[in-house]
Subunit: 281 residues, 4 copies
């Protein structure tokens, strides 16, 4: 080791090392586990699972109506069947000789920008429109009109609206009703809901069929109204869908299949490559 | 393709393909999502998140006391800090330019047999003792004595008992109290609790310090009393710890660090390999 | 923090921290990268990729014949098509909006005990038979006979022999020929090859069709003859199959598909669960 | 199932299913494995591992000089030590009770846009400059000047140049020398090399210290000159670094440690969150 390196290394203290891993979430001492300051034994039996999720992510315990709304959204998104690649991959993993945790990790890893990111993207859209309205005093209808014009000219879909399978996503109505009740009761501001409904209304105009909010749009409204940042929207979706991933991996485990491929044997993928040949050809 | 292959392939029908992915969990039709037969909109707002987890894993909605006990166990295990490799790996992943879902997958993937498997292993132990008692009429105390003798001669720790950090795991008491209340109320059989307490009592005998049940042992009692199979114990632990993994990945995201290593720069791992040399040496 | 904890923490030095991450593989200083003692610039252009793999795993550069044989085995196992769950999962991941590295991780994660572990297991079998012969002076034929009797009574397949798809694995002959040449030339001992051939011969006896060595068996012979430990057999297989995983993920990327499920829409998994019902039912 | 759904499903044939998984890479029949048209047994012993990698990714076998240059780049990037999060995470995974494949997947999953993406990003930069020169007739020096002005005004680093640890990356010179030889011999066009050297020269101008090309920049030159698309640059880096990931996971396996955290016990992360409190507070 050079002298300079040795000197640089010697300047680092053990406290620098423990600081490198510092956290505001959990405080662990022998016999003590505190989460955001609360001893874990004070939470067990008093805090619901959704309230605990909120506590760890936000730093404070939620009000009852906040926990209830978060719970609705978590329940709504637990599963959409094995035709989804995340679920299918987890089921296949469960037949390959890995632990159930690795099968779950496989499914979670597939909830990327395209497969699991629409909720987060919708939250970003709602936040952007909201910002335009608040900061620049643009009316919601105008801000939405500009937004949709941009998406149209870029030939992109607005994330959170429309579903390639459901003409109307059955999870939309119960989720939005719950938000509306909270807004009516004065417990939520309702600004994000207003924007989302305006997008939905304008998207329907002049189209043969409406393009209603889907699960990603409806949960984006909830998470935005509750003050979560967009990227956490993805995180919450992952927590929710992990339930379906686990249930399907476990069901596949029960099948006793080994090394399950995507299609049943003896079916084989169609080959479309070069004709048989030899290296010296 | 050979004629035989072609014939085998032709014998497969499209129904064989949809059957290959058959499931009893979710039934998806355009406009319809049913989970274990329940339309999802009938669950949103009526079923709690733990009840929905139970429904997907077990096929039926739980009784209220079952959901409550499951919730306690899920709350108890959400986090134990960044000195755990699962949390640390997720935090490092969050600085590497992958989605929050992939950071979570990284953490979940580390909850393997050694790091996340003690609960499942403890459930297997409880089930084995239970089986010996039920099937062969051995008294609990004798069955436990035999078990501990086996572990002692194999120089192995009994999974679910003792903690390398906590002299007494603060999550033990509130979890066991909750089970005891249910047993007293006649809503749980209590057989697994009895076995676990007997193990704890015998482990303490003749030792300077007790070896109390830890979080894995206490949740193993709960999950066993609730009728979950051991491997699902792992799955439930993963659902719970995913909350802490998400919270820590998100906190690290907020730090703005890039490519976070395990120790702060300019510290470098100690090198213990061969002296500098050249290929022709 | 308690005084005892503070004292324990204060007893840890920065050197303990750098030692915690000590390694014999790489020595990194500013401007310097040494692998097993060799400056990386002395390897670039002189060491082949297989030789570098060997160096990192074994600590020394291989002889030319060792590197050549390792290369054969790495080439042989690169791909077996998208009907394998590892390849299929990586292809699906590539359509979900994650980086190509995460798509590859998805595939690699599925090469577990069942899907990717046969080579390792075969190496363990060969080592066990070898040990019985060496330590207890049992003739190879007898040791193999006992082994096969055990597998037969446990109704298990011997790992590395037979293929559910190929009557005779086309990779067997070129791999074994290469080992035989090395044995003939006196550069390999041949003990593991002898055992594997004896297993193959005894498995064929009294059966209508032979149960020839497959890719896992043939590479197990190579890796065992080269002195790799069984678990590294799995690692080498992963390095090899990562090539196919990457190629398939990349091909799928080129398809432009988004959120590719296991079966083409509008096909849906068959539902076999409970009839439609309501929570109050 | 509705009549419409049934009709849609009935319109799908088994051939649609096998086409859904079609590939140009591998053709598998009983007893037959062809890669890009070549029977695998014709490659074993004749094609090097790098040549096989090229074949699977590009569709054709490489010329000898192409395979040689690819091999150099693969050798150069195999490892950079356990202070990298990918290596550290794989080592921690190896102590958690998961298979070596899952430990490798953990490391690979961390080679995301920030940790493993600089090579790909550098290739995109080289391609963009190249395009500006070719399509619009801009001289290389001017195109580079514009590029660097953009990066400067955005306060971003140019990917592939400079290293936070090495004043001069020791892998730069041997890699670039090899490219220069090929250009001199007329086997490579040299356009990407020219651009990269121009960037390096302009970056050095007016700075106290140069900002030389690093491993990502040097391999980006190689992969670009060889005609790989930028995203495959990431894929090739992953193949290379997988070797180091495996070697480190394996070394950690040998340590016998269980549940290795990022810092040695009894060190604990610094806690910076709220003071101890109770839910009713």
């Amino acid at each position: 080791m050079t002298t300079a390196r040795r000197a640089a290394q010697d300047a680092v203290t053990t406290e620098d090392v423990t600081d490198w891993w510092s956290t505001s979430i959990s405080d662990i001492e022998p016999g003590v586990i505190r989460l955001r300051g609360y001893p874990v034994e004070s939470l067990i039996g008093t805090a619901s699972f959704p309230a605990t999720i909120w506590l760890l992510l936000r730093g404070e315990l939620p009000a009852e109506h906040q926990a209830r709304l978060l719970e609705l959204a978590l329940v709504a998104a637990v599963d959409h069947g094995p035709q989804a690649p995340s679920i299918a991959a987890a089921r296949m993993a469960a037949t390959c000789g890995v632990g159930l945790n690795s099968a779950m990790a496989t499914g979670v890893n597939l909830l990327g920008d395209t497969h699991g990111g629409a909720g987060q993207q919708c939250m970003e859209v709602l936040a952007a429109v909201r910002h335009a309205c608040d900061a620049e005093g643009v009316p919601v209808a105008d801000a939405v009109r500009m937004l949709l014009a941009e998406y149209k000219s870029a030939r992109r879909f607005v994330p959170g609206f429309g579903h390639r399978f459901h003409p109307r996503d059955p999870r939309r109505d119960p989720l939005l009703s719950a938000v509306e009740s909270e807004v009516t009761a004065g417990r939520l501001a309702g600004g994000h809901l207003e924007i989302a409904l305006e997008i939905e209304a304008q998207l329907a105009t002049g189209r043969p069929r409406p393009v209603p909010m889907n699960i990603d749009g409806a949960t984006a409204v909830i998470y935005s109204e509750l003050g979560f940042e967009p990227e956490l929207g993805r995180g919450l979706f992952v927590l929710s869908r992990s339930v379906g991933i686990l249930a399907h991996a476990w069901e596949e485990r029960g099948s006793g299949r080994r090394i399950k491929g995507p299609i049943p044997p003896p079916l084989l993928p169609t080959y479309r490559g070069p004709e048989p040949r030899k290296p010296q050809d």
